[in-house]
Point group: C2
Chain length 155, copies 2
């Protein structure tokens, strides 16, 4: 999900954005890919591949793991979703054109996940990679802890 007021609206926006980008880039935004993207956005947090498969099988009983994983590959490859490596789960990207690197805050309690793609972090990482004479291609930053809502609730 990632911070929204009207989640239906939020889902639609994400799908329309993906639709537009696919048109521009001549990518095939098939029903299957759209359906998987919708299901990822519908969940309020990281979605697991086999949960997506189970949901998909309700409307498409012949769906198989490869069905889901191929759609996920497409969506990841084109920046519409991210894989959360620490969770083996997938989450929608709220700004698929802006960047490759997304950083995440993930609440251990409510599982809410939000992107926190701060330029200062990017700069600090870049400084360190340069110091280490390393050419970075891809960065995974996943910060686990407790979100404000859960902290307040537990007081």
């Amino acid at each position: 999900m990632i911070q929204c007021e009207d989640h239906e609206e939020c889902i639609l926006t994400a799908i329309e954005m993906a639709d537009r980008i696919c048109s521009q880039k001549q990518l095939k935004f098939t029903d299957l890919r759209k359906e998987i993207l919708r299901m990822i956005w519908e969940g309020h947090g990281p979605q697991k591949a086999y949960d997506l498969l189970n949901k998909l099988q309700q409307t498409n009983p012949s769906a198989k793991p490869a069905t889901v994983y191929r759609a996920l590959d497409f969506l990841i490859g084109n920046g519409f979703i991210h894989k959360v490596a620490s969770l083996n789960a997938f989450v929608g990207c709220s700004h698929p054109l802006k960047h490759q690197e997304c950083y995440f805050l993930i609440c251990d309690d409510c599982k809410n996940i939000s992107e926190c793609c701060d330029a200062n972090i990017t700069a600090a990482i870049q400084t360190t990679t340069i110091e280490n004479q390393f050419v970075a291609k891809n960065t995974t930053l996943e910060i686990f802890g407790h979100c404000n809502e859960c902290l307040n609730r537990s007081e």
Copy 2:
């Protein structure tokens, strides 16, 4: 591995350090746990659980997945190794007392992995988490790309 001149020396140092810390903390550094830690350090990069199991079975044919995973849990829990989430692999920690959070540079070519636990990155992350009113407990930062050696070699 992580930067060393004499890797035998490097392995021994890591094991002795773990031994000392376990004594101090009254932890049981059993033969099995020591063996798994040694095997992780012997590899020059992230080690996979089932590769460790295969090696272990050469001397301990009755070893099972749980055998390895329990030792890994102990080693992770006490900071002697880290899990590299993006790779489903495990790597020795070069400074188990210093911190919980280790950042990694991982070469896509040679698979060499080095810790890059820079304070500036930590500070940048902290600033962002505070801005987001988030209390961080655990951070995964894995930077993939190409190391200096591999860049030079390919020129």
